[in-house]
């Protein structure tokens, strides 16, 4: 093993970056890292530079590209099942081309419909909006915005990606097994997911799903531990916690949520694996299936739901918080105004993170839980609306009397706020158990969570991608294509999900393959067709983004100004052509908070964090 290569770059320079606001320690570190600046030592081997890279910026790219590929697959699946929902009586030969015997004669089978729904959820929630989002932006921005040369442990960081990659390979393999991929929904409730007699997808497909997800949990923990330790230990001189950009605060709390909740999900999976393969009865009791009574007694199917949602709900915030952080940053920069209420923003993040652990059972109001227990969860769930409202009002006030530049990232940030309001408000319906009784598991829920965590989180991600693309590749994405992409997505998302509220209030259940036999729900057939048409248009709109993204890597307009958005944060003090270790010389020292968008005395309207205070100037 070429040990010196794997350790060489990041670990060595890391010594230089390891400063935790301790003013005295910093100077002797400078000498050490100075020796590495000249890049006199050997370049890492191709494999270690481009595949098993330990550079946080490169790992961020790996997460990003993998996430984009998964996003295309996940979105394509939704187009497939929307074809079935929009035109249940038509056949689509193209489906047979793609899916073979799962769509004989161009008609999707019910079994595979459920597999597609399951995979769509799993892929987008975990692979795209957890790994793809946190993995990309936490990795890129935590060291760059804090003034660190790399993550606390670049090696663990690399492992995090490769566990994610392996999880993805296994999940992808499960698409091709004889009995099909898992089909019990992304929540995989037993007994359906535990018994291979219950549904075809609960055979080998489910085994692969569980193995893949377990590896994913490992990846997520390795990443999360790294993010937390980097934030706590590796801030540059002057970068106190209260001077961190809100992006980093958001990634920090995201990582804490993941670290504390993913292990619980893992334990839930372990018990499920035992029930499936080793004859235990954690979740199984009194079941008669496929013509025989099973020997399992004494388990509780509801236990799984508690374990699952103990992750499942924080997971929603794992998906949301990065978007909130990115939006705060981009709104402030482009309004040329400080984010309003920085401390309130941090405190509301603390509030959301804490409450996120205390609301999981609001997914289970109709499982027959004790009404008293239910009432506690109603109270805690609706409480979460308070910090969320604070964030919204602060974003609005940030725009107020600004001097707003509508570049593409800003459009997506505004879209994020709009979507977050729309989706957040419907949460008030679902969090109130008395209203949830009727709305539970209907299209209202689909509308709610797609808007609030699907679309919003994607908007946060898009905003971030357009904004930090120059940091990734030294080039810009095409503006015009970006604007077109924004408008297709923004209008399309509302057209798709808004009408679903109406379907849900009518009681139309989610996860139905066909509604034509139902007197109570078939009145929405023409609406479903309309939604499916919009889905197809929006899907092609996203391909526009993909085209823009990949062509811009090589053909995009070159970055000439190292700080193209006139932003205050440290990532824009690095050279245009990024290097391993981030800063060629000393790591910049921080003198002020990240949102000093004010007159700098020289005609500019911003003062970067590394600019010393002027005489007589007070630090905010």
């Amino acid at each position: 093993m070429s040990e010196q290569i794997t350790i060489d770059g990041p670990n060595a320079v890391q010594g230089g970056g390891q400063v935790h606001g301790d003013d005295h320690q910093i100077h002797n570190d400078f000498d050490r890292h100075g020796a590495h600046d000249g890049h006199a030592h050997k370049e890492p081997h191709f494999i270690f530079k481009y595949i098993f890279s330990q550079d946080h910026k490169y790992i961020a790219k790996q997460f990003l590209i993998t996430g984009i590929i998964w996003a295309i697959i996940g979105a394509l699946f939704s187009v497939f099942f929307r074809l079935q929902l929009g035109w249940p009586d038509k056949t689509f030969p193209i489906l047979e081309t793609f899916l073979g015997h799962w769509a004989k004669g161009g008609k999707l089978s019910a079994e595979f419909y459920y597999s597609l729904v399951t995979m769509h959820g799993t892929i987008l929630i975990f692979f795209v909006l957890t790994a793809g989002l946190s993995g990309t932006f936490s990795n890129l921005l935590i060291p760059l915005q804090l003034g660190a040369r790399d993550m606390a442990s670049p090696f663990m960081n690399m492992l995090s990606y490769w566990f994610f990659f392996t999880a993805g390979v296994i999940m992808f393999t499960s698409l091709f097994v004889q009995t099909g991929p898992a089909s019990g929904g992304w929540t995989a409730y037993p007994p359906l997911s535990a018994l291979k007699e219950a549904t075809q997808g609960s055979g080998v497909g489910m085994d692969l799903w569980l193995v893949s997800m377990s590896l994913f949990v490992v990846s997520s923990l390795l990443g999360g531990l790294n993010y937390v330790s980097t934030v706590l230990n590796m801030r540059t001189k002057g970068m106190s916690m209260t001077r961190m950009p809100l992006t980093v605060w958001a990634f920090f709390f995201t990582a804490i949520l993941g670290i504390l909740s993913f292990p619980v999900l893992f334990s839930g999976f372990v018990l499920l694996i035992f029930d499936r393969s080793f004859g235990t009865s954690f979740y199984l009791s009194e079941i008669f299936i496929n013509g025989r009574a099973l020997s399992h007694v004494g388990g509780s199917a509801i236990l799984y739901q508690h374990l699952f949602w103990f992750l499942g709900h924080p997971e929603v915030y794992i998906i949301m918080l990065p978007g909130m952080g990115i939006t705060s940053e981009i709104l402030s920069t482009n309004a040329r105004k400080p984010i309003f209420g920085y401390f309130a923003m941090v405190i509301s993040l603390v509030g959301i993170t804490t409450l996120a652990f205390l609301v999981w059972a609001h997914h289970m109001f109709v499982t027959g839980m004790s009404p008293f227990l239910g009432s506690i969860f109603v109270l805690l769930t609706l409480l979460i609306a308070v910090p969320s409202a604070v964030k919204v009002f602060n974003w609005l006030t940030t725009l107020w009397r600004g001097n707003i530049r509508f570049n593409v990232p800003m459009m997506f940030a505004i879209g994020f706020v709009s979507m977050f309001i729309s989706g957040g408000l419907t949460g008030i319906f679902l969090g109130n158990s008395a209203l949830d009784i009727h709305l539970h598991d209907t299209y209202f829920v689909i509308a709610h969570f797609h808007i609030v965590m699907g679309v919003s989180a994607f908007f946060g991600m898009f905003a971030g991608l357009y904004y930090w693309f120059p940091k990734f590749y030294g080039r810009f994405m095409n503006n015009t294509l970006g604007y077109i992409h924004f408008w297709i997505t923004f209008i399309g998302a509302y057209l798709i999900f808004w009408p679903m509220h109406y379907e849900g209030i009518a009681g139309m259940p989610r996860r139905y393959y066909d509604f034509s036999a139902w007197q109570s729900f078939k009145q929405f057939q023409s609406l479903n067709e309309f939604i499916s048409i919009v889905v197809i248009v929006v899907f092609f709109g996203q391909l526009l983004f993909v085209v823009n993204f990949f062509t811009s890597i090589w053909k995009g307009k070159k970055m000439t100004d190292p700080n193209p958005w006139q932003s205050n944060t440290l990532e824009w003090t690095t050279p245009i052509k990024t290097i391993h270790g981030n800063w060629p010389g000393e790591i910049p020292t921080v003198y002020r908070w990240p949102y000093d968008y004010k007159d700098d005395g020289n005609g500019k309207d911003y003062v970067p964090q590394n600019v010393p205070l002027r005489p007589g100037e007070e630090s905010y």
Binding site: S285, K337, V366, V378, V390, L399, L435, H440, D441, L481
Partner: protein, 353 residues
């Protein structure tokens, strides 16, 4: 055909891409600052336009879908539910319009201009306090109202309630009425057998002898009389969904759950109200239960009077009578067990696909 579509889509992408590229070059030629200012004005205007057109679209959407949205409530509890739902829609609706209006108005009003300077306004604790306490108070009221409803709908069923058991299986509902003795007998999942004992009734328990089992998922209720549903499942988790009655409850294997409500509109009345002579209340399965989930349909028939229901009950034979003739059972249930056949499971095959 599919090639043509593919070619058209590809062509579309090429054109859009070229437009994007061309505008980039044109921007360089015409001066980037000027182009930026121009697109800034355009985007600000479009955002405001989006809000205005969006409001109109909302109105149109509401107009088109309102009648299809909430079916008329058919239970006493459902009426209270509708009130609460409407109140919540109004409150959130106001907040929705107000915040979205501010968002898009600020975006338009404060678009970048040469002569404008952003106002340095980093914080204001009074404002923060204001919009922490107001949402908190509104939420507290909503929690209070919600919990009042919640505790009333989850309270113990009245003593005069009709008791019916509903059991889910892949993929239909089995409904059991207590028969003349008014009591449901014991069930044991090990006694289940699809040929002659779909619910696993334990005939050692004499209460089972007159129990009526309806395998076609027909739930017969009476207008004005509370009904308590005892909910169970034979295999995986199902969920009894009663959209017109505004109720829903999971059916979990190994656990018994229950709900109660009072039907307030009979099926016949609803036929008149909806002007649909074929109207029928439906029971949907609301928890993914396998490939036939979407077809797991039951029906509810709400009779106008108890007499009408009694008459229907009389026309039904008990499950015991259907499967084992009308004679009294042997002292032990072993006789039943012997008749267990392995061929069972016919009902499942029918409903599989």
């Amino acid at each position: 055909m599919s090639f043509t579509i593919f070619a058209l889509v590809a062509l579309f992408f090429v054109i859009v891409y070229q437009i994007g590229k061309a505008s980039e070059y044109a921007g360089i030629l015409r001066g980037e600052e000027k182009v930026k200012a121009q697109s800034n004005r355009l985007m600000a205007a479009l955002l405001l336009l989006f809000f205005i057109v969006g409001c109109w679209g909302l109105w149109e959407c509401h107009y088109a879908l309102l009648d299809k949205m909430l079916p008329k409530s058919a239970s006493v509890q459902g009426e209270a539910y509708d009130e609460m739902l409407n109140a919540t829609i109004i409150i959130t609706g106001i907040v929705f319009i107000a915040t979205q209006a501010l968002l898009f108005w600020f975006a338009f009003r404060y678009q970048a201009r040469e002569d404008r300077k952003a106002y340095f306004y980093p914080h204001n604790n009074k404002l923060e306090l204001l919009w922490t306490t107001i949402p908190a108070i509104i939420m507290a009221i909503m929690v209070a109202v919600g919990l009042k409803h919640w505790f009333s709908v989850t309270s113990t069923a009245p003593a005069n309630s009709q008791v019916v058991e509903i059991v889910g299986k892949q993929f239909n509902w089995l409904i059991r009425y207590p028969g003349a003795d008014g009591e449901l007998g014991k069930r044991n999942f090990r006694l289940i057998n699809d040929a002659n004992n779909v619910l696993g009734l334990d005939y050692k328990d004499k209460h089972n002898l007159d129990d009526i089992v309806n395998q076609s998922g027909e739930l017969h209720l009476v207008k004005g009389r509370p009904v308590k549903l005892i909910i169970g499942s034979r295999d995986v988790i199902h969920d009894v969904g009663l959209p017109q009655f505004r109720y829903k409850m999971d059916a979990v294997p190994g656990i018994t759950t229950s709900i109660w409500f009072t039907p307030s509109v009979s099926t016949e009345e609803m036929k008149k109200i909806t002007k649909n002579p074929n109207f029928v209340y439906e029971i949907s399965c609301d928890q993914l239960c396998g490939s036939g989930h979407y077809s797991m349909r039951g029906t509810v028939i709400v009779h106008d009077t108890q007499a009408e229901l009694n008459q229907w009950m009389k026309s039904q034979k008990s499950d015991y009578a259907i499967n084992f003739g009308s004679t009294a059972p042997a002292a032990s249930s072993s006789g039943v067990d012997e008749k267990k056949t392995t061929s069972g499971d016919s009902s499942k095959k029918v409903s599989m696909r």
